[in-house]
């Protein structure tokens, strides 16, 4: 990438206009690019791959979403048809979008608040205890896809932990098919998502709390801050606003992308599509039915939903402590 730019940059200084006239805007730019050759060389390998595997796919997805494409024939332009079919004819997609928004609306804010609250409580502890508690909370998200443990917990027979204890304590008389009953599936997926959600955002908050300037608290006490709630709102939160914004991005993005847990626990497709999400719907059309145009329309909707929500939340968080 940088090579091309640099080659273009070469002729400019040679054919530079006489000193009387100031160099044009483009000539200045090219000179700047040439002077920063090393920057582009260092950036090139990463940006090439980033462009190839992240930027290009987003653009392709957008283009393909306006076509009929089955991977065999050349894509055929069909305008907005995929989108109108998605919102007007596909009732499973409506279930998927409802579930995804439900997951996002519950696990997004809850996990975000949980990340902060636990980081905040842990922060007051002695370093050894703090390190241990960090591990306890962070362990599920780092364990690498071991959510199949929950399959044992919610297994549908008497030997499953949930059934076993509930029968023993007399709440239920016979085993419940947790993962096959529509009303329980959603709740269980939310529970497992929350269990997995104290990840990068949580670590960012722990770190952010440790960097808050301690003298601010003393100054605050002089200025009449009475209790820890006031301390939190007037000193701690504003001081770690950058981390709060970073954590929000991480938590929100994961909360919209529920799929693996749903497929693993509820099956694919789940009972009466009770656990269908936008991502599982996308996989259905993309990897099973090979309706790539339609699947790309789903991907584009998901992209817009994720980025849109993130940008709105960023704008809101800027107001913290103002």
């Amino acid at each position: 990438m940088s090579e091309v730019i640099l080659k273009e940059g070469k002729p400019a200084p040679a054919g530079a206009p006489p000193a009387t006239r100031p160099p044009s805007r483009w000539a200045v730019k090219l000179q700047e690019i040439k002077a920063n050759k090393h920057s582009y060389v260092l950036l090139a390998p990463y940006m090439l791959l980033f462009g190839l595997f992240t930027v290009l796919p987003v653009a392709m997805s957008l283009l393909i979403s306006f076509t009929y494409f089955n991977m065999l024939e050349f894509p055929r332009f069909i305008g907005w048809q995929n989108y109108s079919r998605l919102f007007l004819e596909d009732d499973i997609f409506l279930i998927a979008i409802k579930n995804t928004l439900l997951f996002a609306a519950i696990t997004g804010p809850l996990s975000y608040i949980a990340c902060f609250v636990f980081a905040w409580i842990i922060n007051d502890m002695r370093p050894k205890v703090r390190a241990f508690m960090t591990l306890v909370f962070y362990a599920p998200s780092i364990s690498g896809n071991v959510y199949f443990i929950w399959q044992m917990i919610f297994s549908g027979d008497r030997y499953g932990i949930a059934n076993g204890f509930l029968i023993r304590w007399g709440f239920i008389l016979e085993p419940v098919q947790w993962l096959k009953t529509e009303i329980y599936i959603l709740a269980i997926i939310i529970l497992v998502q929350l269990w997995l959600s104290l990840g990068t955002g949580f670590l960012a908050f722990i770190a952010g709390l440790q960097t808050v300037d301690k003298t601010l608290y003393e100054a605050g006490a002089v200025d009449g801050i009475k209790n820890r709630w006031q301390e939190l709102w007037y000193i701690t939160l504003p001081s770690m606003k950058p981390q709060l914004m970073f954590g929000a991005v991480i938590q929100l993005t994961t909360s919209f992308a529920v799929a693996d847990v749903s497929i693993y626990l509820a099956g694919f497709p789940s009972v009466n599509y009770a656990a269908e999400t936008i991502v599982t719907h996308l996989m259905d059309f993309g990897t099973i039915r090979f309706e790539m145009g339609f699947a790309s329309a789903i991907a584009t909707v998901l992209f817009a939903l994720m980025v849109g929500t993130n940008l709105i939340v960023q704008r809101l968080l800027r107001k913290v402590g103002e």
């Binding site: 920063n36 090393h38 920057s39 582009y40 260092l42 950036l43 990463y46 940006m47 980033f50 190839l52 595997f53 290009l56 796919p57 987003v58 393909i64 409580i121 390190a131 508690m133 591990l135 306890v136 909370f137 362990a139 599920p140 998200s141 364990s143 690498g144 071991v146 199949f148 443990i149 399959q151 044992m152 297994s155 027979d157 030997y159 932990i161 076993g164 029968i167 269990w195 990068t200 670590l203 722990i206 770190a207 952010g208 003393e218 006490a221 002089v222 820890r228 606003k241 950058p242 709060l244 970073f246 993005t253 992308a257 996308l282 993309g286 991907a299 998901l302 994720m306 980025v307 940008l311």
Partner: protein, 289 residues
């Protein structure tokens, strides 16, 4: 003056007792919720068959045994591809991905953090925007791109995209910004080239961030099942192989727990040893306006 400071410190410590109690109770309950599934899995891995299928179920093991691990070895000994191959595949993918990502992301982070050049804001904004959507969005075009460049059914389909993982670049760039400019200036005066500055001045100073990138990528790649790109049995990952064992259902409950224990022990151990360095990196993770 000293007196005032002491009094202030006292005031900060003097928080309401009930408030403390309520917070620690809360912490205990949620801590138990987080820890119990893992504790259960660890215990189940050492349970003999009659204890796994005990009614009422127990959380802790009474007569620990290694039967499940022996069964796991037997099962895997019978598989068509030797088990060591699955381990090699996962270790290879994780190792290559981690090393490549740390090198490429650091190289790209240095100019973004310390230099001014045309296009800098655009590039960094694109990376931040990439944090705002999940990789599932690009799954379909990614498959087409992989098949164009011939990566389908090879390790590289998992490894190479991991090199360009946006979160790693973001964290590395934020961490590099706090390296004092004076350090770079001094190296420049000594006649070091930009590449040499990057390799000999910047890289040794961002070791905490390396650890963070390593653990994030490790998390991403250690549990990978090949993302749908790998079909050949001899190229499949550990996670894929062990998943098939667990699919065996109820008869494999004990072995499944043993697998869970093996899978999770590696990243957790890694985190225990690198926690303080990761926290140090995360301190600079904030998003500036």
């Amino acid at each position: 003056m000293v007196n005032l400071a002491l009094r202030l410190r006292k005031k900060r410590m003097n928080r309401s007792f009930m408030g403390n109690l309520a917070m620690f109770l809360f912490l205990g309950v949620v801590g138990a919720f987080m820890a119990l599934p893992l504790v259960y899995a660890i215990n189940a891995a050492f349970k003999p068959l009659d204890e796994i299928f005990l009614f009422p179920p127990t959380l802790f093991v009474r007569n620990p045994t290694l039967t499940n691990f022996v069964d796991l070895m037997t099962l895997l000994g019978q598989s068509w591809v030797p088990f060591s191959r699955y381990i090699f595949n996962t270790v290879f993918i994780t190792g290559m991905g981690v090393v490549g990502h740390v090198l490429l992301a650091s190289a790209a982070a240095y100019p973004l953090a310390k230099h001014q050049f045309p296009g800098k804001t655009l590039l960094f904004t694109t990376v931040v925007l990439a944090l705002m959507f999940a990789p599932q969005v690009t799954a379909i075009p990614n498959y087409m791109i992989m098949s164009w460049i011939g990566f389908v059914d090879s390790y590289w389909a998992v490894i190479v995209p991991a090199f360009a993982f946006p979160l790693g670049l973001y964290l590395m760039k934020q961490f590099m910004e706090q390296i004092p400019d004076a350090l770079i200036e001094a190296a420049k005066i000594d006649g070091a080239s930009e590449y040499r500055i990057f390799w000999q001045v910047i890289m040794p100073n961002v070791k905490p961030a390396w650890m963070t990138l390593i653990i994030l990528l490790f998390q991403l790649l250690w549990g990978t099942d090949g993302n749908g790109f790998i079909y050949s049995e001899e190229l499949k990952t550990l996670h894929f192989a062990t998943n098939q064992i667990i699919q065996g259902g109820i008869a494999r409950a004990g072995v499944g727990a043993a697998v869970a224990l093996i899978l999770m022990s590696v990243p957790i151990t890694l985190f225990v040893f690198s926690q303080s360095r990761i926290i140090e990196t995360m301190a600079t993770s904030g998003m500036k306006e």
